[in-house]
């Protein structure tokens, strides 16, 4: 035996993994210039990107007439919503900021990022905006910061209040935006034909999500039911709706419903919402069904063997696992739903896209498609990114539990 053989220590020591640390040059070398053809590709694409960016930036900074956005910002955001009631839309945003601040502080993973975000937000918003919006945005930022600061308490009661806040937020928003019956007063009725812009887009989306989710889950469960009539009805509903484009459903809701229900007048926006909910629920049902089928039979058997009845088994054991498995798909569907709401233009509602078209029809701003649609795309992009980022956080959190 050679004496150089290392003898094993009595107990193998657990060593920390080597940390990977690169200098800027090291990173560049590893990721962009690792071989001669990678270096070549980097150079070629670098040149292309710079050329494209230069002309785009040149246009954006010198030629583009962004005043079409600033002059119509109010229209883009809330449409024809009366100026006297705009504070109600702001109140919704302020409440949302407060809830997000609280939630980030209570459940968020990256507390430092939260502190930076909510510390800087009020100032950032106040610098960016001007006029009436500056004050309002400052309040939004402060509300977020207050929420985040409050969450430092970490009491179970605060957690419960926050959850309750999220639950009542949606009905509260509907109440604030639509107002109550009387024609004057602080909460006067604002008829839905005045709702518009981003406000309408978001409302259509949120209503679509909030109502299609339970309906879709019920349809998915119904499709798996052992009762043949329930199952048949669910299958027929899902397949019929999935066989029809959303535009058709929206048209049906707008034009056919009044024919079927003479004498009953249903609000146009409500009809569009109903169309979106019914349409989305069918797709959601199929996605949830995918999650249900991924649950092993043993989970059903274990739940049944413990004496759980069907409803408790579904609510406590099967659905939590099934829904978790399909979070990415569901969020993808909600993002698609958000973008699909732009189809309500066809039935004459002025959502963000509708407003864009209306603005482009103004004599002052003819021919400014590029500016207007870029802005609209940016707004859609920001919201879609937020939804997708949230879903990734949620998934990471739920997976950490395993």
């Amino acid at each position: 035996m050679s004496t150089t053989t290392t003898s094993l220590p009595a107990r193998a020591e657990a060593l920390p993994p080597p940390t990977e640390r690169y200098t800027v040059l090291g990173w560049l070398h590893k990721n962009l210039f690792s071989t001669w053809y990678n270096a070549l590709l980097t150079v070629i694409f670098g040149v292309v990107v710079i050329l494209l960016l230069r002309s785009a930036l040149e246009w954006a900074l010198t030629q583009a007439r962004w005043e079409v956005i600033t002059a119509n910002l109010r229209l883009f955001m809330v449409g024809q919503y009366p100026a006297a009631a705009t504070w109600r839309a702001w109140a919704c945003v302020v409440l949302l900021a407060l809830l997000i601040g609280l939630s980030w502080g209570i459940w968020g993973r990256n507390q430092r990022a939260g502190a930076i975000t909510f510390g800087a937000l009020p100032f950032l918003l106040a610098i960016l905006a001007h006029g009436e919006a500056r004050v309002a945005l400052l309040i939004v930022g402060v509300a977020g910061a207050i929420g985040f600061a409050l969450s430092r308490w970490r009491s179970a009661q605060l957690q419960r209040i926050t959850i309750l806040g999220w639950v009542i937020y949606f009905p509260l928003v509907i109440l604030l935006i639509s107002g109550l019956g009387s024609a004057d007063g602080p909460l006067s009725l604002v008829t839905t034909n005045l709702w518009g812009g981003l406000l309408l887009t978001l409302l259509l989306t949120v209503v679509g999500i909030v109502f299609s989710f339970p309906l879709g889950v019920l349809l998915a469960l119904g499709r798996q039911s052992s009762l043949p009539i329930v199952r048949a009805l669910c299958v027929i509903y899902i397949e019929v709706i999935r066989g029809v484009p959303l535009i058709t459903v929206l048209f049906m809701a707008q034009l056919m419903l009044p024919l079927f229900l003479p004498g009953v007048t249903i609000d146009r926006v409500v009809r569009a919402m109903a169309g979106i909910v019914l349409f989305s629920a069918a797709y959601l049902a199929e996605n949830v069904r995918g999650g249900l089928q991924a649950i092993p039979r043993g989970q059903y058997e274990a739940a049944r063997a413990l004496g759980l009845n069907t409803w408790k088994m579904m609510l406590l054991i099967i659905l939590p696992q099934a829904l978790k498995a399909v979070i990415p798909i569901l969020v993808g569907q909600f993002i698609a739903l958000f973008k699909d709401t732009s189809l309500v233009v066809i039935v004459g509602l002025l959502d963000l896209m509708g407003i864009a078209k209306a603005v482009l029809a103004q004599p002052d701003f003819l021919g400014l498609q590029a500016e207007v649609y870029l802005f609209v795309a940016l707004v859609y992009g920001v919201f879609c990114y937020l939804m997708s980022a949230f879903s990734q956080r949620l998934e990471a959190r739920l997976n950490a539990a395993r």
């Binding site: 092993p296 043993g298 989970q299 058997e301 274990a302 739940a303 049944r304 063997a305 413990l306 004496g307 759980l308 009845n309 408790k312 406590l316 054991i317 939590p320 696992q321 978790k324 539990a401 395993r402």
Partner: protein, 254 residues
């Protein structure tokens, strides 16, 4: 059946008469008769496909029998859902693949049924849950998730989960077959302790050491029928049927 003279006839807790089960045209159970007394430990063994798992799953209606009758704790198994749920409350089951709920902590796995089926308070359920975790030897794992435990620990949690409902009968469907060899003993030790505490147990297993140690009656299943039954001394020492002898020689030879 060989044990009846030692028991009062009225302490029967499971009665199966001429139980038949078909999967399509496949005749899986062909007239099973069995009587189990309170506190009796029954071991069911036999080659794969002999219907032993199917049989113990008919007792809590995870499988439906199509002929004959099954009476558990005085309740006749029919299509009546309330009767089925009553029987399931009195019958704990441990599965080959553990079937713990992966989205719940160990403690939540154990307290779920007592809270939602028996209607206990969370505090009460957790107190009993902790006692059971101590009994199966892993109280320190209460806040972990099943995926973080070894197979042996998961199966012990599964036993604790079944016991939390305070069942009168425990059914074990090949509880050690999915375990790595070094983990079989820790699960068998818990089962032996349970048997010695007087629990009525039906165990489908090939662990003949376990059978020899604690079984009151052994049943040898083959092709959906009970070929032979009797106390372990008789089954191991003097099996009557050629098929029993052959099977035992195959599983005991290694």
């Amino acid at each position: 059946m060989t044990m009846t003279e030692q028991h009062h006839p009225n302490d029967l807790i499971i009665i199966c008469r001429d139980v038949h089960k078909w999967y399509g045209h496949y005749h899986a159970l062909r007239g099973i008769n069995m009587q189990v007394h309170k506190g009796e430990v029954v071991v069911i063994f036999g080659p794969s496909g002999s219907g032993k798992s199917t049989f113990i799953r008919t007792i809590n209606r995870l499988e439906e029998h199509q002929r004959g009758e099954i009476i558990v704790d005085g309740i006749r198994l029919t299509h009546d859902v309330r009767d089925i749920e009553r029987i399931r409350m009195e019958t704990g089951m441990v599965f080959q693949q553990f079937n713990l709920f992966p989205h719940l902590t160990v403690m939540d796995n154990i307290t779920l049924a007592p809270i939602w089926v028996r209607g206990w308070s969370k505090a009460q359920a957790e107190e009993i849950g902790m006692q059971l975790l101590k009994r199966v030897g892993i109280p320190e794992q209460a806040r972990k998730y099943p995926g973080q435990l070894s197979g042996g620990q998961q199966q012990r949690v599964a036993i604790a989960r079944a016991l939390a409902m305070q069942p009168k009968i425990m059914l074990f469907d090949e509880p050690t077959s999915a375990l790595d060899p070094e983990m079989i003993k820790e699960v068998l030790d818990v089962m032996i302790e349970l048997a010695e505490s007087g629990m009525t147990m039906l165990v489908v297993t090939h662990e003949m050491g376990f059978a020899r140690a604690v079984a009151d009656t052994m049943y040898f299943f083959d092709q959906g029928q009970i070929v032979e039954s009797g106390p372990p001394e008789q089954i191991f020492g003097d099996p009557k049927e050629a098929r029993t002898k052959l099977f035992l020689s195959q599983i005991l030879s290694h």
